[in-house]
Subunit: 515 residues, 2 copies
């Protein structure tokens, strides 16, 4: 080979390399990520069974797009969140367990206002939890300072879009705005944890003199247009995707529906169908909201296909806590809305924390697969970073979540001895709710220990044989109780978890392993 | 030269070309563009004199950053807008004159609600103007369908940001949302033409039970933080600039302050200073709002410098109409707030349409230059497209504006015979305002003809010798009147401008050249 030929070849190879690098600048390498987060959706609020068989409640609902997503992705039958919304949302954005980030209850709209109810006869004092939520800025009182997941994705080149409910923090703090939480675009997200109304006929609550803090902002375009909020938010989401698609940027869409939180409004595209099916008006309204949410999912899936990006887009379906089982507005006998699961939103029993979860990841997840490996909401943080190829992110907080990407890749028994914990040292409603207020729990394998702080009692359940948590086996397995209580106590102490205290005397309620 | 050497050279040149192209993908070519649009700011509401000398009102205000911008850019002493806000804003975004786009008055919050006041004794019927504003979508009733300027800039690679007041259209129509008008980011813009309050202590109006359609949305982060709205919007704007700066994308920031529209709230960072200077409380409040706005301009200029992008950023300062001269809340004797200019907001007399305008464009505009060449708000459309290097944009509407880039480049007498027109076939307030309601005007050179539709009278003024429009020369120059009336009539007819009609009889008020 003569010298000039070699030079020519080197030159040519260089050219090809530069061309490839140049093309790489425009070609999208990273997968798009859509988190489809439903609010207050129960584990049974779908025609897609997450249990081992179709249950009576499954038959009430019609969610064809969830079924479709499940056939294209992996269904998680043991996915968990915190029992109420802000703790889950903060766990999602921070990667921390609620006992660790200390935003253990939902945040009020206004700063420094606790959301816990109390009354004279309540013997316990709720601890000083982070009532102002999460803050991406240091030094904000009663907040957890943490690097938001969306910020890291933005820094990794993602076009980050927030649509719907934010509710990470109280007004007057940085966490109130999705623009401070790493999002480039925000539609309708702020400090409100629910919409004043889903109806455009009500302007989503924006009616002079009647407007509360829960009136949905940013949606004037739809006032009076007969567009249910779920539909309006979906259209907004698809609209914002145009830009990253056109400019070949990977996007992260946080599609956080206000649905299916209260108020229960009829989505009249579907309402009649459920009345005809024999549901009462309240039940039919709720079922119509579920189907409106499901249509949103389908519309997004259709849009991705139409834009020819469905094969490079990960969709993660999740709910932020269990279905509300104490609202008469939903039409069911109270405490039965998540059967066979016990209780609902607010509770550490399975009805409050077990979530419908599906992940579609073309080329990675086996279509139609199912896993019973447990995961929890804070796992989204490391999982999404891994999906986005973010290595060694700069994060100010310790991350408790573990990536579920290995599970998605089909590995079994990924975290064999992992413990999962829930902590609700709070009081949810005025009325005392003994299956909700002041409860903690730990799960390891099939075993779950529930700690009732009010009565200082421990209950033990085997979830494999008793999904409804009806048979307390504590007396039968004292060693198991002792072991789980120790694990829970150690975990909580290491995180600096907050415990309630006694109004009389002031001392702290004992740790579960120090009774 | 042997063949292999030639091949090597071609190979090498190709490499260099590819490298340059590849670098070009990251290097920012286009200038950033910031439009700093103030609401209802009068021509005299600044310590920077736009007249030929410092006037008494100039002495009342303190706007050091406007002065600074003028020393770094070009001051336009004959810049015009429409007499009220929505018409100006639609002209800006569409490039059309208000008589042509037919959004001749401000749009109501709600769809299909005219904003004109009427009473029994008013002999005129306001025409069917486009009461729903501008629409980027075809077929929306009573809107002008037009391609928004921001959309074209976005398509040209600009990261487009809307902060503040939008007010192009009514609720329930696409133009209500900046996301439909070409913006990637929206903070606080919707259908409201004013803020309910500038005070974070009032949550900018968001107080349950007291909230109106004018409560500012998207600003929960600042509730109760003692942050004047102007300051909060500035911080939001700077925050949104981080991303395009970091990713080397050119940006278009439409910084559309709600200030200094009513309500007149004290910006207490500056209020005392004006009280001490001898202003009454109302005047001091208004002056404090002006200085708050000026601080915002300064903060943005400082930020650009700090980020080292000031030399590649064009700043255009403008107001959308004249100062409000009929509000007692501003503390002045009515109809005197823009002296020596006649009248104010709503009027086609100079007080209603002459605007403070400054353009800084490093490397193009001569620092400290001044031009007396007239320009008008619809000129921003072609001018910004030229600045952004957009050639032959796809635009569905005819564009009336003319680029002022040649003026910025120092050319004199760029459009020697150009005519400028204003059209307000509307009624602004309940009380009859004879210098505001139902007026049209045309300017050519130093001459201005005012057409009073109510009385069918024509007035002629020489702006060079009579800036205050105090001496009607119509009787003295009948040929000039005839010529200008013909130009105005022809122009209006060619645009299909709408004229009021008589309630009695129903016929149209005659064109100015058909009296």
């Amino acid at each position: 080979m003569n010298r000039s030929f070699t030079a020519k070849r080197i030159s040519f190879i260089l050219c090809i390399m530069v061309l490839l690098a140049s093309a790489g600048l425009h070609a999208q390498q990273k997968p798009n990520i859509i988190v489809f987060l439903v609010d207050d959706m129960g584990w049974m609020d779908t025609s897609l069974p997450f249990g081992d068989k179709v249950m009576p409640l499954n038959k009430r609902f019609h969610t064809p797009n969830m079924e479709r997503l499940a056939t294209e992705g992996m269904k998680f039958t043991h996915a968990y969140a915190a029992p109420v919304c802000t703790p889950s949302r903060v766990s999602f954005m921070s990667g921390m367990n609620a006992a660790h980030h200390r935003v253990t209850n939902w945040t009020s709209v206004l700063k420094d206002e606790p959301s816990d109810f109390d009354h004279e006869k309540n013997p316990l004092k709720t601890p000083d939890w982070n009532i102002n939520g999460m803050s991406p800025v240091k030094g904000i009182s009663q907040t957890v300072y943490a690097t938001p997941l969306a910020e890291l994705l933005k820094e990794a080149g993602y076009f980050t879009i927030h649509v719907g409910k934010a509710h990470w923090a109280a007004a007057g703090t940085p966490g109130a705005s999705p623009y401070n939480m790493g999002f480039l675009v925000n539609v309708a997200g702020n400090v409100a944890g629910m919409p004043q109304s889903y109806l455009s006929e009500d302007n989503y609550g924006n009616i002079p003199g009647k407007t509360t803090y829960y009136a949905v902002q940013n949606m004037t375009e739809y006032y009076g247009t007969h567009t249910f909020l779920t539909e309006a938010l979906t259209r907004e989401a698809l609209k914002t995707l145009d830009h990253p698609i056109r400019t070949h940027q990977p996007f992260f869409l946080y599609m956080a529906h206000y649905a299916v939180h209260l108020p229960v409004n009829a989505d009249d595209r579907f309402f009649d169908k459920y009345l005809k099916a024999g549901l009462d008006s309240a039940q039919a309204k709720y079922a119509s909201m579920i189907e409106g949410m499901d249509k949103s999912l389908g519309d997004i899936m259709d849009f991705l296909k139409q834009k020819n990006i469905d094969q490079n887009t990960i969709i993660l379906f999740m709910s932020d806590n269990g279905g509300n089982s104490i609202s008469p507005a939903k039409g069911d006998k109270l405490h039965t809305g998540n059967l066979p699961l016990r209780e609902g939103k607010g509770s550490v029993y399975e009805g409050g924390i077990r979530e419908p979860m599906i992940v579609k990841w073309p080329g990675v997840v086996k279509p139609g697969s199912v896993t019973d490996q447990p995961v929890i909401i804070e796992d989204y943080f490391p999982s999404l970073l891994e999906m986005a190829g973010v290595k060694n992110p700069k994060v100010v907080q310790p991350v408790d979540g573990k990536t579920f990407v290995p599970i998605l890749k089909g590995n079994s028994n990924v975290y064999p001895d992992r413990i999962f914990t829930w902590h609700y040292p709070n009081k949810w409603k005025k009325k005392d709710l003994h299956d909700i207020d002041y409860l903690s729990a730990i799960r390891q394998g099939d075993w779950k220990l529930v700690y009732r702080m009010l009565t200082k009692k421990l209950e033990l359940y085997n979830l494999k044989t008793d999904i409804g948590e009806q048979h307390d086996l504590a007396a039968q397995y004292p060693d198991k109780v002792k072991k789980l209580a120790a694990l829970l106590g150690e975990q909580f102490r290491s995180w600096g978890a907050l415990m309630p205290s006694y109004k009389a005397g002031g001392q702290q309620v004992p740790w579960p392993d120090k009774l």
